[in-house]
Amino acid sequence: MEGGVVYENDLNLKATELRLGLPGTERNEEQPVSCTRNNKRPLPETRDQDGGTKAKYDAPHADPDTPHAPKAQIVGWPPIRSYRKNSLQQPKQTEAESAGMYVKVSMDGAPYLRKIDLKVYKGYPELLKALENMFKFTIGEYSEREGYKGSEYAPTYEDKDGDWMLVGDVPWDMFMSSCKRMRVMKGSEARGLGCGA
């Protein structure tokens, strides 16, 4: 089927960088496919890094020194049906087994408790910021020696052994898997906590 069809606005296309002219026209393969993108859909970062269609395989995209940007979730990827995804995400029956996903957070002086999903946070800074926002207070500076200085509050958590620990002492992953619930302590109790106290 020969392309005997004439498309108008060929020049406009070049000007607006919207590609895809006639079938049969010689076009370089380097053109960006950006106009295919609907800004509703998040792009996988890697596609932009590839620079579009042409990939050079002596410098493959899996360059170990270039960390992938935090991935936007690609629609429909990986190709798993929703009912399967949903059943994997079913919350476990008991709190103990949930090992640090949703945990209750109490704040001294606040009338009711809150619940947060620890998996949402990548580390302590994010978690503490979220607590600050949630309960409208400020946490002090953390130091291993002195705990949280500069505020009346200290974030604490109950671990698997039932002991109350200061948030921040152990690596994040260990905290996530051992935290059963949290309590933001206030006042003199708070000042009592800290390594070496």
Binding site: M1, T16, R19, L20, G21, P23, V33, T36, R81, Q93
Partner: protein, 584 residues
Amino acid sequence: MLRMASSFPEEVLEHVFSFIYDDKDRNAISMVCKSWYEIERWCRRRIFVGNCYAVSPPMVIRRFPEVRSVELKGKPHFADFNLVPEGWGGYVYPWIAAMATAYPWLEEIRLKRMVVTDEALELIAKSFKNFKVLVLSSCEGFSTDGLAAIAANCRNLKELDLRESEVDDLSGHWLSHFPDSYTSLVSLNISCLGSEVSFSALERLVGRCPNLRTLRLNRAVPLDRLANILCRAPQLVELGTGTYSAELQPDVFSSLAGAFSGCKELRSLSGFWDAVPGYLPAIYPICPSLTSLNLSYATIQSTDLTKLVSQCQSLQRLWVLDYIEDIGLEALAAFCKDLRELRVFPSEPFAQEPNVSLTEQGLVSVSEGCPKLHSVLYFCRQMTNDALATIARNRPNMTRFRLCIIEPRAPDYITLQPLDDGFGAIVEHCKDLQRLSMAGLLTDRVFEHIGNHAKKLEMLSVAFAGDSDLGLHHVLSGCENLRKLEIRDCPFGDKALLVNAAKLETMRSLWMSSCSVSFGACKLLGQKIPRLNVEVMDERGPPGSRPESCPVEKLYIYRTVAGPRFDMPGFVWTMDEDSALRLS
């Protein structure tokens, strides 16, 4: 020849034809001569419509007046992964309405990826007096009220299978609508339902249906009720448990184990939601005779999985999560020599880092150890060309091979090369390959291999692959038996499609999303090829509001004798001769 054909009385021919069941054979018979066409069409009892828009209900009814069994498929396969927007189509109601008058003796309806409403179910329930089989696979649009209508009215119902459908689950009460006099149930699959059905109603139903051979329960059925149900149906061949989790209690365990032992015919097990290892030994007695095991909801780890599969020497089909790990797959390869089909699903599909030790090695082991393995679906995080080539050489009998590497465009993790040669080996060695799904970093070369070798290939799924139109051209021009092609996020544009336009009429359908096919090319295809529906899906608004060279979001092309459809939502446009007028 003509004299011979007309000298056979019709009744004789009809009797001969009654031994022919396969659609292709039936179609062939009908093309011999006009009288055979006539005789055949009056005695065809079963029809399969792979794309509900390829033909219209009146056309089917006009040609085949005495049908007893209908199978229809609606949405494109990529609808399973949320790539087809809500409201796209695939409504079954017009079919049911037409068949209600034309086929009063209809017995079986099997639907896949269709929108089924409660009205449709109610119409089925009251229109077909001898209705026996309802299978709704990956359907949606109905509620448990519709199921209640079926349960209450279909006196001769044998099979009700809701596999993987999305049901508006108002309550479990519908099950109680089966009257006490109803005893003909043979197969019940309610595994997709969320709410609890009345356990006593379920037990009574199971107890009074002596021919029950398949029972797939839903997650809401607790483990401690399972033994009772099993004791009432020791003749069961296929069972799907409910939740397989409970506090370990010796009496619950022993009645469960006893109940399983009593089911001497049990060959297929599924369910196992939230399985706890402590209750697995209850099924050990029946493991040696199991042929099918679906553990893809069981969050048990590789040690327990390994112990389990090692006892299933008759296993032919295994669906499992990647918790099985390479080590469990090695055990599978060692003990399950009759394995035909393996599916390994990801336990944490969105995690960046692997959470289990499942690599290409597991699949290589199974390909070495299981000589009958011919159907594979494998999710993993790394692959090499060598592994693929080894698998190909080990298993030239492979017919369905679907690989998914979680990371799009992942290269061979050792050589950092594309996986072209690995998949090339697959299509070269596996000459009977019917279905292929590729993964990882792939250039146009892999498509060249496919076009050259994959002569029996019927369905191909491609994502994040290829460099240029040449890739698509290789496939369209080389794969003689291609029926379904689905492509997403590949740099394929107009050229290959337009050059191979005639090929599209020999296929059931083509799906392309996030590619580079222009609106202009779609219009051209729609105008030039009359028996194709070229449907453009674009949620940005009418394609005519953008330059013709602008690529469309999604494109679905299918052959049809029914012309353009009229039940499309606002974001779908059909390109045909009139579209130029409608869209300007």
